[in-house]
């Protein structure tokens, strides 16, 4: 193995106490382990509702998960206070991974039957709530990776994409952003935002490594790329979902 000892990645997990539905903490474990297995130090910092101020200094990857509507509103009001800071982070190529509720709050707004929650306006998207929940296993085709992306969606929101962003993948099975657009998630600069739980990263090791590589390149210019790991088990778990819902490749 190459000497990766000099590399170090700081992961900030935003509000795991509020946004912690559907095993999203597995994404943090996945990033942490895949760095560790390559000899790269991973520092995970949890920023909770108890922290009065959240300091993004030194952040290499920021993760924000999903929660119930009630808890999402609390997070939104907290994050709006650091809107400019987050925007600057994204514009400078900072890596941000957002799932479900976290995805919605990066947009312009999230409108429910009762209220309209103002978003962080980092992504050119907006979300309206639909009458039904879109609940399904999901398989996506994504140009960047040979392995399809698999996950599980459970959302009432319908997220509409503006000109400035591209979808994460094309829906081969499941509903996706709106149920009829044929696409799921968003990729914008180094932001990956999606409705997919599962959790997202363990069964999609290529996506996880893509995220880690972006963070390492940004921090260490000239970074040579990640060495491969033995992903036999990850591939079996991924293939099971693809085979069941899309058919064997």
């Amino acid at each position: 193995m190459r000497d990766n000892g000099k590399f170090e990645i700081n992961i900030i997990h935003l509000y795991p106490d509020l946004l912690n539905l559907y095993g999203d903490r597995g994404n943090i474990a996945c990033m942490e382990k895949r760095l560790e297995w390559r000899g790269i130090t991973a520092n995970v910092r949890q920023c909770t509702n108890k922290d009065s101020d959240i300091d993004l200094t030194g952040a290499d990857i920021i993760f924000v998960g999903g929660g119930s509507d009630r808890e999402q509103e609390i997070v939104c009001s907290r994050l709006l206070k650091m809107k400019d800071e987050l925007k600057a982070y994204v514009n400078s190529g900072g890596v941000l991974v957002a799932v479900c509720g976290g995805y919605q709050l990066l947009g312009k707004y999230y409108k429910t039957a009762l209220t309209k929650i103002e978003g962080l306006d980092i992504l050119d998207i907006y979300t309206d709530s639909g009458d039904t929940r879109l609940i399904s296993n999901v398989v996506l085709e994504c140009d960047r990776f040979d392995m399809p992306i698999v996950g599980f969606e459970n959302h009432a929101g319908r997220t509409y994409l503006g000109e400035g962003v591209t979808p994460l993948g094309k829906v081969l099975f499941g509903n996706g952003n709106t149920g009829d657009s044929g696409y799921e998630g968003v990729i914008y600069k180094n932001v990956i935002a999606t409705y997919l739980h599962g959790p997202l990263l363990p069964k999609n090791p290529q996506l996880c490594d893509y995220i880690l590589a972006r963070a390492l390149e940004r921090k260490y210019p000239g970074f040579e790329g990640l060495e491969p790991l033995d992903d036999g088990l990850e591939e079996l778990a991924n293939k099971y979902i693809v085979g069941k819902y899309v058919g064997k490749a």
Partner: protein, 463 residues
């Protein structure tokens, strides 16, 4: 006309149950579904034969155990009951229970209907039969793709309760989500009124105040979101507890005191305190005298897969069902209390009744199994790769992934290093696993020293 329809529906359900048993199907829901097709108002017609009251049990965990224990207690105290003991808790299962209670003339008499009802089905069921008493055990994350989020379950139950005029609620006061159903309604509360377990950092479900959204604090905390909670911001707090467990002692058997009565039973698992408290509170609220309660608890035979002992050639194999993070965390805690060198088999399915989404596996503290004196860890079930991946990223070494439960059992049976084997399964894995275990038991024999049988006898589970 409706009398004839009723009779035909009862016969059809009875015939379907017999046919189901002959072909070895254990579903107790489909005969009732068939009967309701023939006679849509069958349940309300038959409910008229219940003379003293209808008791409904809802809640995520422990509802089958609580409901069956309540039913068997009422029977021991001399009452006649109708009860969906097999845990089929949607409308079909309830119709089956009523049809089964009938004689061939479509008639029966019962003092009480004791019904376990699925939270999402409660509104549908209450259109046919209104409870006089409703017991809610707790609300945890469960089968999320069916229920959406826990807030939706709360809304569904609130609507159901409002349909049942004059209902008396029996609620877990340690659970902020459950206790809130009692606000402005006629309710009694049960709870555990002292610190019992060591502190844990597990995921808390409802840790934010339901009134103001600020973070709640706990004077003491049991598990998930259960404990003596209060909100420092708005003053919302745990209600006054009517049936409080104190002087809890889990060192050998399970002992605690409620309203001056000392409970002493040979059950395992902290969560069983709640199951017993709930039954005790229900009996008192209904107005049934609780004499000889300890004997009644000891006589109770739990349903399958609740820390069920299935000995294999002198070696204890213990089968346990858990359906969600709270249930699995409690099972893992019970495994950790057993210090013997052990094998563990985990079987995870993702059929409709399990919930198609298995992301909850990542909310279970599986990493704690690393300290369980494990000799072998085997994964199986439809989602065997997912559960294996969970162990991989938790740094817990697993030894084998196999589709074949019998092979897994033989590996554990032949492992001389382990003295006991725990088989942890989720919902639809339960029956096939139990069948495989009983078949394997036939091959190798049962034979277990009597001390071991006593130790495991009467164990209940949170499932």
């Amino acid at each position: 006309m409706s009398a004839i329809r009723k009779l035909i529906a009862v016969w059809a359900a009875k015939a379907a149950s017999v046919a189901g048993r002959i072909v070895g199907k254990k579903s107790s829901s489909s005969p009732g579904v068939l009967a309701l097709k023939i006679c849509p108002n069958l349940i309300s017609l038959l409910a008229k034969n219940v003379t003293k009251g209808v008791i409904v049990t809802c809640g995520t965990n422990g509802k089958t155990t609580t409901n069956n224990l309540l039913n068997s207690s009422l029977k021991k105290y001399g009452f006649t009951t109708v009860c969906n003991t097999l845990g089929a808790n949607m409308i079909g299962g309830i119709a089956t229970a009523f049809a089964q209670a009938c004689n061939i003339f479509g008639a029966f008499k019962a003092d009480y209907a004791v019904l376990e009802v699925d939270e999402a089905s409660a509104r549908r069921v209450f259109k046919h039969i209104k409870p006089n008493y409703m017991l809610i055990t707790n609300l945890f994350r469960d089968q999320l793709d069916r229920y959406g989020e826990i807030d939706i379950t709360v809304d569904l139950l609130n609507e159901a309760i409002d349909m049942a005029d004059g209902v008396k609620l029996i609620l877990n006061g340690d659970d902020p989500l459950t206790a809130r159903f009692g606000e402005g309604r006629d309710a009694v509360y049960f709870g555990i009124s002292e610190q019992v377990l060591p502190p844990s950092d597990e995921t808390k479900e409802g840790r934010f105040c339901l009134k103001c959204g600020e973070e709640q604090e706990y004077n003491y905390f049991h598990y998930s979101q259960l404990g003596d909670y209060y909100c420092p911001h708005c003053g919302n707090k745990r209600p006054e507890i009517d049936f409080a467990a104190t002087d809890v002692d889990l060192s050998e058997s399970m002992k605690f005191t409620v309203r001056g009565k000392r409970i002493d039973v040979n059950y395992r698992g902290f969560y069983n305190i709640y199951n017993i408290l709930a039954v005790y509170a229900a009996l008192n609220t209904i107005g049934v005298k609780t004499d000889n309660f300890n004997e009644i608890l000891s006589d109770y035979k739990p349903q399958i897969g609740r820390m069920e002992l299935i000995p294999m050639g002198g070696k204890p194999f213990i089968l346990n069902l858990a359906k969600n993070p709270a249930g699995f965390n409690q099972a893992i805690q019970t495994v950790l209390l057993d210090k013997r060198p052990k094998d563990v088999i985990v079987a995870i399915n993702d059929l409709a009744n399990d919930g198609r989404d298995v992301s909850w596996l990542w909310d279970v503290d599986f990493d704690k199994l690393a300290e369980a004196n494990l000799k072998q860890l085997i994964t199986t079930g439809i989602r065997m790769y997912d559960i294996s991946l969970r162990f991989k990223y938790a740094d817990v070494k697993f030894d084998l992934i196999t589709e074949d439960m019998k092979f897994a059992l033989s590996r554990c049976f032949n492992n001389k290093e382990a003295e006991v084997c725990y088989v942890l399964v989720n919902y639809t894995a339960l029956y096939p696993t139990q069948t495989a275990m009983l078949e394997y038991q036939k091959e190798v024999g049962a034979a277990l020293p009597p001390s071991e049988s006593n130790r495991n006898g009467g164990a209940l589970s949170a499932g």
